[in-house]
């Protein structure tokens, strides 16, 4: 905003560079450690909120991230948006590494985020129209053009501009506010939208409407979603692929149906088993796992799940297991039971063909 830019009337989305084959977003070794200051004589410690997370999102797909609270889902989102500094790792947007080939300013046009708290994420002093028009104005769009765009987007998210444009956030319902937040995220014509628990705080009926809206918008604007949620049913409904996180690490990733039908990692199995079922015959009688997740300040060595895992063996507390292809192509799991010759009694023998 400091340099004088001639106001423009339209924000073009960032160009598609690599075509279909190139992932829209590649995340390589993303790591965030928070220092925790100890007492006067205590050693300072670090919280390993996100540890060496690597994944890719193909153009046009929806990737879900699931995991219990504190597993690093939201931190990952904030790191991708550059709302907090990462310790290490590369973020590559359509083949261009952020910070080298792609400026932060450009990235922000290409990637936007919808937050969980629909009320806190809107400025209470600005009208809805002003909130949506803010981003485009920052990127040099003329006042009138950005307001016209805001009204057009309100229509796209199902809110009549003549009824809503001049209202304030406290005057509308939670579902309507989340629609406004979606419109605000779309105002910069992003190709990737991060939805951080975006529907989690809504009533079930409203949640369904907003989910359907997201599906419609994805088709209309050709969007790619990174969908973060703790609600497994919602993730299954909307995602193509899913990423399971535990204590800052990815433990399993794969196509959503494969993961749901044949969960490989013991943690994923426990997570899916914990899902309430509407069928009384399928009720969960035995808790799938017990205990709280360990303190991320001092995560267990080796596989971070070994303290709660029913299949734990000596090998599990050694080195951290790497993500390995299992079961189906594209379905990866970080567990010694699936690494041939790992030393775990359930592991396939070296050179065995994975079923």
């Amino acid at each position: 905003m400091t340099e004088i830019i001639e106001p423009i009337d339209k924000l073009e989305p960032l160009p598609d560079i690599g075509g279909e084959a190139q992932p829209l977003l590649r995340v390589d070794g993303l790591t965030k450690h928070f220092p925790v200051r100890g007492g006067l004589f205590a050693k300072s410690k670090t919280v390993r909120a996100v540890d060496n997370v690597t994944f890719a999102i193909a153009k046009g797909e929806t990737v879900g991230i699931v995991g219990e609270s504190g597993c690093g889902k939201s931190t990952t989102a904030r790191l991708l948006m550059h709302l907090m500094e990462r310790n290490s790792g590369d973020i590559i947007y359509d083949g261009r590494t952020v910070g080298r080939e792609l400026s932060l300013r450009e990235l922000r046009r290409g990637m936007q985020m919808v937050f969980q708290d629909s009320y806190a994420s809107l400025n209470p002093r600005l009208t809805i129209e002003e909130s949506i028009a803010f981003g485009p104005k920052v990127h040099g769009m003329a006042e009138n053009a950005s307001r016209a765009l805001a009204r057009e987007l309100l229509g796209k998210v199902g809110l009549r501009p003549e009824n809503f444009a001049n209202r304030y956030p406290h005057e509308i319902s939670g579902g309507q506010r989340q629609r406004v937040n979606i419109a605000r995220a779309l105002a910069l014509s992003p190709r990737l939208v991060i939805l951080d628990e975006a529907v989690s705080a809504l009533d079930k009926s409203v949640e369904a409407q907003v989910l359907n809206l997201l599906v419609d918008l994805k088709r209309e604007f050709g969007l790619t979603y990174l969908f973060i949620s703790h609600d497994l049913n919602v993730v299954r409904y909307i995602s193509d692929r899913v990423l399971v996180m535990y204590l800052g690490e990815v433990v399993e990733l794969g196509p959503v149906d494969d993961v749901w039908d044949a969960p490989a990692h013991p943690y994923t199995r426990a997570l899916l088993a914990a899902m309430p079922s509407s069928d009384p015959d399928n009720r969960t009688m035995v808790p799938p796992i017990t205990g709280d997740p360990p303190n991320p300040i001092d995560p267990p060595s080796g596989c971070r799940f070994h303290t709660r895992c029913p299949f734990v063996e000596a090998v599990c507390s050694g080195e951290s297991p790497k993500l390995t292809d299992v079961v189906a192509p594209g379905h990866q799991v970080a567990c010694y039971m699936f690494i041939p010759g790992s030393g775990h009694s359930k592991a396939p023998p070296t050179g065995a063909v994975v079923p």
């Binding site: 905003m1 400091t2 904030r78 948006m81 709302l83 932060l104 300013r105 922000r108 046009r109 936007q112 985020m113 937050f115 708290d117 806190a120 994420s121 809107l122 400025n123 209470p124 002093r125 600005l126 009208t127 909130s131 803010f134 981003g135 920052v138 990127h139 199902g158 809110l159 009549r160 003549e162 009824n163 809503f164 001049n166 209202r167 304030y168 406290h170 005057e171 509308i172 309507q176 937040n181 605000r184 910069l188 409407q209 359907n212």
Partner: protein, 295 residues
């Protein structure tokens, strides 16, 4: 599904949306106490501004034979002071200086303190530490003592009183501004603004200022009464206005000698300070509740 969505979403009331400050204005107009206070303040302000045209007696013209007349004396509705000057005229003229040194330091401190607090709260880190620890040094002294010390060092006079009172209020307003800003800074809408690529200055101007200004403004309004009392104190000690200027604090000082002869007249300047202070306080209370439009 679609049909249901449409009815659910479009059934929203269509009344013309009112701006935030328009709503606050409407609410404060309905508040009787605030309106009464505003009326009294406007009356005193009007009197101070238009004093020369109100047909009052000369506030500087004394008379040795008419000293310390009682309230209700013909031609002297509020009596005369120890030098025989008309009290009514002096009280009304006195509003000019008293309101000036009551309000101006607060306005100056509001501008300086808000800027400092906003930067400290938004930028954080070392800059926050630098600003806030400096502010803490001033905070360590009681405000009366600090005002007297600075005034004493600078020398007596109206300008120096205003400067010293401004220095007294800047730390207080900075602290309030900093804490409000810190609260707003981590709100999701500020994160969203950062995510849209806006720079710090734009975020502070568009997203922070509107959300912190109200609270700081209410606090500053409350400080006006403190400022008036401190200014009166400085004048009382001979560090502020000099005789024969009419100013409430100074008048209180000079009339002190007449307190056994004519206590009611001697108390009048104090009553003015009290009235203005309490009105500003009640008005800031009213604004505080009017600005909380969510209930």
């Amino acid at each position: 599904m679609t049909a249901m969505t449409d009815t659910a979403l479009q059934a929203a009331p269509t009344h013309a949306a009112r701006g935030y400050w328009a709503t606050v204005g409407r609410r404060i107009v309905r508040d009787k106490v605030s309106m009464a206070c505003a009326f009294i303040l406007l009356l005193i302000l009007f009197g101070a501004l238009f004093a020369p045209w109100l047909g009052l007696a000369d506030p500087y013209q004394g008379s040795m034979i008419r000293r310390l007349r009682h309230i209700g004396t013909p031609n002297y509705p509020l009596g005369t002071d120890e030098l025989g000057r008309d009290m009514l005229a002096r009280l009304i003229y006195g509003g000019r200086l008293s309101l000036l040194i009551g309000i101006l330091p607060v306005i100056l401190a509001f501008v300086i303190g808000t800027s400092l607090g906003l930067v400290a709260g938004y930028v954080g880190g070392k800059i926050n530490t630098a600003i806030m620890r400096t502010v803490d040094i001033f905070y360590a002294f009681p405000s009366v003592l600090l005002a007297i010390a600075i005034s004493g060092a600078l020398g007596a006079g109206i300008v120096n009183s205003i400067v010293s009172l401004t220095i007294v209020f800047v730390p207080q307003i900075t602290r309030v501004a900093e804490s409000v800003t810190t609260g707003v800074r981590n709100a999701d809408f500020v994160e969203a603004a950062r995510a849209s690529g806006a720079d710090a200055f734009t975020i502070m101007r568009v997203h922070m200022l509107g959300n912190v200004l109200g609270t700081i403004f209410v606090y500053a309004t409350g400080l006006i009464s403190v400022s008036m009392i401190l200014a009166a104190g400085l004048s009382f000690l001979g560090l502020g206005t000099k005789p024969p200027e009419p100013e409430w604090g100074l008048m209180l000082n000079t009339l002190r000698t007449a307190i056994y002869v004519n206590p009611w007249v001697a108390a009048l300047p104090g009553a003015m300070i009290f009235a203005v202070s309490i009105c500003f306080n009640l008005l800031s209370d009213g604004m505080r509740s009017a600005m909380d439009i969510r209930n």
